[in-house]
Symmetry: C2
Subunit: 323 residues, 2 copies
């Protein structure tokens, strides 16, 4: 054989590369709910979702003897995660490890072939510089901690067989690692999403949580100021965009979508976001009704608007790449 | 985020790349025996061995319903195998799938970090052009079919729980795919190795099989002609190098090492191979006694000489890369 000539990037022609979206956040921060709506709306034939929490280095039994929790980078194959993110971002398939949350075991890996759009959600997708370099759009989910704790208790008791006391103990054990490894990813996000009740309001039961979206100038967001100022009804209080100084002092636009927004106002904003998509504005979403769904029966307009904004960015990035 | 800038080759500096050796051959052709001696001799801290038969796409139960056997490329993740070979050849770790031969199940993958030398053995490591481009040295194991069949019956009955009838039926079922996919790899090997009894000789029981090594001019082999002609005792008949026209008409050197070679003659040839290693001739092998071992108790000088020739090529390739 002559000397080997191996060049990953040239192995399969150049072709279009998938648009990559990261959704980072702590356990039970709402990553799956946000992701599921996007995949259903655009269609699984165009979008692949990958959870990077499958890159656990140890199974549940092995972790029991370790001095760290599943949140710790040392507890995960971060280098393999980086490698797989690079491969996906170049349109290459991966054989992804699989962690079975029900049994706590590492099982047979699965083939993942990237579609036009790849969503990567999990605890640590933005942990390293190389991983971050793989994404076109990055999101951090940042609910208030008490709310996230309640979501985690419900989910882990319902679906993973833990007791509430076990979940609370685990949250306490994980807190130092959440602070050290998960929350620092917030600063690397183009969009920080916080679902929360509006302070000081007493909305009727069943009112969805409000969404606060910090839109950092690291990507180009659709201009919404005039729509929000001149929209129908009570638009300005139900939704508003404010210049804001982030906790780190950096300037940022904060888009608030209150849970009590009316369907009519919500529709106007969704239309406005979509119209700003330029040449692709006419793109029909296969299933727009998939947006805003929570669990099997719930729904939320602030969630739907958040998801639509992410779809805007996905299609916009795809459009720029094609140009 | 700015546009992603992902370049696999630059992700971790340049550094030295592992020397890659492929050992291809049909089931029970002797790949593991050949590989094991090399790893033991050079030491597991310097050499990684990978079996690419772990890249099965289906487990045993799933395969039962398919129109092909485990030998068929469609039954294997060939694209992922190619990807992993490229990564290993660039010094990157992989998360390798694992097929459990005892149960026929695909199980938890394992982390493989390449050392200075990587041996890749299996059914199809030379099947595609991209896979072949990853290797510095390529070997095909080509025992006579009746001999391989007997080895397979013994191995599969002893270690994998089959009956002799089952193994013979499986060999028959596999024959068209052996002809179509396994044996065509022979032409891509730098060295074709055939262990076989010498035709027409009646050696005493326990005499090892002879080795016939076809040395193709695709890599630089150590010059052995003068040693073989002027060696001690009966060297010329116990070992000889002959110019030969291969079955495809291409010229090739054929090195014969007969099973009845005396320990003294064998020692002279081993020394000669090693002295031709140039600057690294003084390199001590951590465990030279590991060469030539068969199973737990058997031993063979023709096998030891074959392994030493492969070690020569591994160290020579490493030396050239460093130069």
């Amino acid at each position: 054989m002559p000397h080997r000539i191996v060049h990953m990037l040239r192995a399969r022609g150049s072709g279009r590369r998938p648009v990559m979206l990261a959704i980072a956040g702590d356990s039970a921060a709402g990553k799956t709910t946000l992701t599921r709506g996007l995949v259903r709306c655009l269609g699984a034939d165009r979008m692949t979702a990958v959870c990077v929490d499958d890159y656990h280095r140890y199974d549940r039994a092995e972790r029991a003897g370790k001095p760290f929790t599943a949140l710790h980078p040392d507890c995960n194959h971060i280098d393999i995660m980086e490698q797989h993110l690079q491969l996906l971002s170049m349109g290459e398939p991966i054989l992804k490890p699989v962690y079975d949350h029900a049994t706590g075991e590492l099982v047979r890996p699965e083939l993942v072939e990237p579609r036009d759009f790849v969503i990567v959600e999990g605890l640590l997708p933005l942990h390293t510089r190389l991983a971050r370099a793989c994404f076109d759009i990055t999101v951090y989910l940042d609910p208030p901690e008490p709310l996230r704790h309640s979501w985690k208790v419900r989910r882990d008791c319902d679906k993973r067989g833990y007791s509430p006391e076990q979940v609370m103990a685990e949250l306490t054990r994980r807190e130092p690692e959440s602070a050290a490894y998960i929350r620092p990813q917030r600063k690397h996000a183009d969009i920080v999403v916080r679902f929360a009740p509006v302070a000081g309001r007493l909305d009727p039961p069943g009112t969805p949580l409000s969404a606060e979206l910090l839109l950092r100038p690291t990507i180009d967001h659709p201009e919404l100021a005039d729509v929000l100022e001149n929209g129908p009804g009570d638009t300005e209080t139900a939704m508003h965009l404010r210049l804001h100084r982030d906790t780190d002092g950096r300037p940022v636009d904060a888009l608030h979508v209150h849970g009590y927004v009316s369907p009519e106002e919500s529709r106007v904003v969704k239309k406005a976001i979509w119209e700003r998509l330029g040449p692709r504005a006419g793109t029909a979403l296969p299933d727009p009704d998939a947006l805003g769904r929570i669990g099997d029966t719930g729904s939320s307009d602030p969630l739907a608007i958040t998801q639509l904004l992410l779809l805007y960015h996905l299609l916009d990035a795809d459009q720029r790449q094609a140009a």
